[in-house]
Symmetry: C2
Subunit: 280 residues, 2 copies
């Protein structure tokens, strides 16, 4: 069966809309500040998705767009201004930044309380240590929301995480370990990937390589979570070969329409949580 | 065969002694500052081991011992004083600290440049991201020194890390992933531990559970790295059942006499490296 993202996202939106209403009664309007450099099509698409999702819940988005050649100092001043503003509850910086900018240095000044996508070292460490504090990164958290919404318990399950990136593979591995899954981190140097994947109860594909997970990687019991978003002609496709696999496996998340459609709802959830904490 | 720690440690000591000589010519004497609270027997034993190893290389150790009921403020002042002193190149705090003290808060003020056992958030993040910067924690690094000294290449190997602690299991998993091993992190909730271990090329036992790895976990090709140090009557034993396994596996590290005997040499190496950087 397909685990689709829309019902998960809709369920979250319904809950979050009522929490936004509660906050409004206290005079608080949850607001996300977005920092964009340049006009990359994927950033613009993500931005539209965010604006749409936040509007649906009556939450606010403020976008600051800077030219490609913006200075580090200008960005740091923007982040510091947002850190200081009480009406801004979350800050999101579109990544990667152009190469002349120092992303790490920028994230070090970002307030961890407003770091709704785990860009700061403080929140990255919470993920690594699995101490349950701070905000998780949105995409890995979207995987967790899917798993929870469809009632799958990862405790004691063997999970192959295919990919070891800073933004998805590594944090997701740590988040699944914290939930007591037995996690195998696979990557380009993994020798027997098909065998490891076939043995796993769940595969999380987050390598960023179009259709790399095929029929040889799965069995009828496989739960396949596809986090890949790869360009495919005019559209996008996942890291799994959906056409050839969907008839074999127990569960698959389609691309588009799977994990990716939950990410903006996770972002909204984090901003609402941050606003709720500021109200306490 | 047994991979013993002594030849590895001796080899390191020989190299480090000559580096200490070079530093002395520049007027620099590598020095480690040790902070101990109370008189726990294992801390005292570790302290003696450190003093002995450092003396052998003509490097210095300065121990500050505090009573069990020492205040957080006193410890923070001690760390800050060491941070500021040019003649101190490394700082080591014996862990765990008594419960009334805030370890995390203490480590946040420790200078990352002098953090020779990866206690600071900065160095923990370097391990998590695998960016090769900072100092690795000494015990996991001792495993890496053993592997390197015996010429074992982990790239592409399937490694079961049994244990997910902050001080050994997690950092070691990240360090092995950075060296392109395919790592499975196992723990108390892992359901088919025997099977996972049997399939692995290498098992790293770091669960802190006496003799939990037995004949059913291994095969003739297994390389078994035992990081466990458990009380056993008057002596210590590892996480592996050495008596029953050593005749079966390809490689095993004994306890005592294995990984544990390399740890103080790693500590010395980090202090020498820190002193070398200060000389540049």
């Amino acid at each position: 069966m397909d685990w689709r993202g829309k019902p998960v996202s809709d369920g979250m939106l319904s809950d979050l809309s009522s929490r936004v209403e509660q906050l409004k009664k206290k005079g608080i309007l949850p607001k996300l500040a977005v920092l964009r450099v340049g006009e990359r099509p994927e950033d613009l698409a993500y931005e539209r998705g965010i604006v749409k999702r936040f509007s649906a819940a009556n939450a606010k988005v403020e976008v600051s767009a800077f030219p490609e050649d913006v200075s580090q100092k200008t960005l740091e001043e923007a982040v510091e201004a947002w850190n200081a503003r009480n009406d801004v509850h979350g800050i999101l910086v579109f990544r990667p930044l152009p190469k002349h900018l120092n992303e790490e240095k920028l994230f070090r000044i970002l307030s961890p309380e407003k770091d709704v996508d785990c860009m700061t070292p403080e929140n990255a460490l919470h993920v690594y240590y699995g101490d349950g504090k701070g905000f998780f990164p949105c995409t890995p958290q979207a995987v967790i929301e899917m798993i929870d919404a469809y009632g799958y318990d990862v405790c004691g399950k063997n999970i192959a995480v295919v990919g070891r990136s800073k933004v998805v593979g590594k944090p997701l591995a740590m988040m699944l370990i914290a939930r007591h899954a037995t996690v195998t981190v696979c990557h380009t140097r993994t020798k027997n990937l098909e065998e490891i994947c076939r043995r796993a109860d769940m595969i999380v594909a987050c390598a960023g390589s179009a259709r790399m997970i095929g029929p040889a990687h799965v069995r009828p019991e496989t739960v396949l979570i596809d986090v890949g978003i790869n360009a495919d002609g005019d559209g996008i496709c996942g890291d799994a070969d959906y056409e050839r696999i969907s008839g074999i496996v127990s569960v698959i998340t389609p691309v588009p329409g799977g994990v990716g459609s939950v990410t903006t709802s996770v972002l909204l959830k984090h901003v609402v949580e941050s606003a709720e904490r500021s109200a306490d």
